[in-house]
Subunit: 359 residues, 2 copies
């Protein structure tokens, strides 16, 4: 977490869900869809992934208001096959389109006993990629989700032009009943741009490998970094990864990529036409789910009990920290930074919704 504990307040989980839902319905989103989007959005905050949580509500609201997100999309399937199709999101909220596309992938895989992949076009920023692969793990399937970032702020390796987004992807594997799935959910930069924003707010320097300035030189000044580019993790590895994740998300459909991408915050006149790729592999195609669970449990046991480096108390599987954070947030309230709370209050005032009192 980036925010200092002192600047954190907690808001009741059901009350926060209700608030997000009210804002969305006031903008014409039908109740049922608004509930689904609220759950997906707040889920990121529950997990401590605040960069993809309610901090994004004001921009979604603004885009809905400007008519560049469609509040009542007619989401359609095209080119249906046994284990694939294209989902045309009709410019609906990305969380909604993403959720439905993953449901389509799961249904096809289950109905036809095949791996299933769904390519999505005319969607929007869909939040945290991990959310969708968790859907797959609940259906006893391995899940894949790839998407294109909503802002270009990475350059191809050797370049200094922002042609690429920091494209996120997630892979999830189910574990035994009652245990959280293993969830890899990452983007391709050394550090998230959100961390640079926080450093700029706090007047701190950043490590030299996080970002490049406008001239393509490494910089430790977060203000210069925000005008420039974020650096890919592992240099050419991160470049190759972000490019390939972006291509998987967009090349199979009409979704936008490269210089054609439209900026989430700065272009309020055109739809984003974001692309995603959702995929599932049902465990039972390959082995008995019980045998798979048993194997996963053995690995989990070994990793949890590995010899620890000095100062380390617990070793986690990917996704476990987020699971613990979620359990605590549901019990004690969703932790939000005071800055985010102010932004949400303002957003609420605009849309006749009152943010519940933090504690």
């Amino acid at each position: 977490m980036d925010q200092k504990e002192a600047n954190i307040k907690r808001i009741s989980y059901p009350a926060l869900l209700d608030f997000v839902c009210q804002v969305l319905t006031s903008l014409g989103v039908p109740e049922c869809e608004a509930e689904l989007v609220s759950e997906s959005l707040v889920d990121a905050d529950l997990k401590g992934v605040h960069s993809h949580g309610v901090v994004r509500l004001p921009i979604y609201a603004e885009r809905l208001r400007a008519g560049v997100i469609n509040a009542k999309p007619n989401i359609k399937r095209k080119r249906e096959q046994l284990g694939s199709c294209i989902v045309d999101g009709d410019n609906g909220l990305g969380h909604l389109v993403g959720h439905l596309a993953m449901e389509v992938a799961i249904d096809k895989a289950r109905a036809n006993s095949v791996p299933s992949f769904v390519a999505v076009e005319h969607s929007n920023h869909y939040g945290a990629a991990g959310y969708f692969v968790e859907q797959a793990t609940r259906a006893d399937m391995i899940g894949f989700s790839f998407t294109v970032g909503a802002i270009n702020h990475m350059a191809p390796w050797g370049g200094r032009e922002a042609l690429l987004g920091n494209n996120p992807f997630a892979i999830g594997l189910p574990r035994m009943q009652g245990q959280p799935p293993v969830i890899l959910d990452m983007a391709c930069s050394v550090a998230a741009r959100g961390k640079i924003i926080v450093a700029a707010r706090n007047g701190e320097r950043i490590p030299a490998d996080w970002a490049l300035d406008l001239q393509g030189r490494p910089t430790t000044d977060p203000i210069e970094a925000l005008k420039g580019l974020v650096q890919p993790v592992g240099g050419p590895k991160g470049y190759a990864l972000t490019l390939v994740v972006g291509l998987l998300s967009t090349m199979l459909t009409s979704a936008l990529f490269g210089s054609g991408l439209r900026h989430l915050y700065e272009d309020l006149e055109n739809e984003q036409n974001s692309g995603h790729l959702m995929g599932v592999l049902p465990i039972n195609l390959f082995t008995a789910p019980e045998a798979f669970s048993e194997r996963m449990s053995q690995v989990s046991y070994e990793i949890h009990n590995a010899e620890k480096a000095s100062g380390v108390e617990e070793i986690y599987l990917p996704g476990e920290r987020e699971h613990l954070s979620r359990e605590r947030a549901i019990r004690d309230g969703v932790p939000l930074g005071t800055g985010v709370i102010e932004d949400l209050k303002a957003c609420g005032r605009q849309h006749g919704a009152k943010l519940p009192i933090p504690y």
Copy 2:
């Protein structure tokens, strides 16, 4: 490339293929399979990925001789479905098993118009992951290949016990006829262990973020590093990635993972039981291949023509450097380090094969 140009000699491509083939057939590998493995192995050297090329021939030969790789495997399919199956490699050479498994995936996808994934057990070290996704791209499909590393030398994040391999994976997308495919082929460490070996040989220090010593502390001493652990790229990101790649490669079958893994070089008494996962998405399930090619060409054009950082002459797509290296090596000879050449000569003497004279 790590080797200094001065230590590089070139060997005729067809003659090198022939040499590898002779070594393998002398160990009982049938002619046809030996040719296939030779092509796959030397392909890595053509591309400049020497860590996965003929440098590995002596250990494969040693394992064949020790009877812990099966020279004449009876490779079988199990649990066949429309778009999936398990391939039991019967402890055959990994390149052979991997190639056949990817062919099975491609055939199923083509025959049944579905995405197709094949999980592989009882295989061995399969070389460069990129080789197999190239098979898919030649069939106008997107290809995925995941495998488990043949030696554990990474720890879970926060740990100091080598429970994880530096697990490699590849994703490939086809381009227009005559243009090389886009190939992401990476493992999950900051730097390949091979680079640390080279630094140790040359008496050089290594950067502090490459490796940990036996106590789990960062080290710049390559000798200490080789006793210790390699560091995951991007810290927890690389850990999550290597774990998930490993799980995808092994959890669906009986393949070995974690503390059960058998060391490629040190355990000459037991089969490795390596696991892989191969997957393909036929482009024509989603869109016309011509439309896909056209979109890929636009992206390629933009990336090649992006503004360059100072001192950079060319910007490449992932896989393009390797393609150029291959073209040159086929024409001018395969570049090999003098150390590798000595090892191959010795290997040849053992197996009645004469290494062609370098030039």
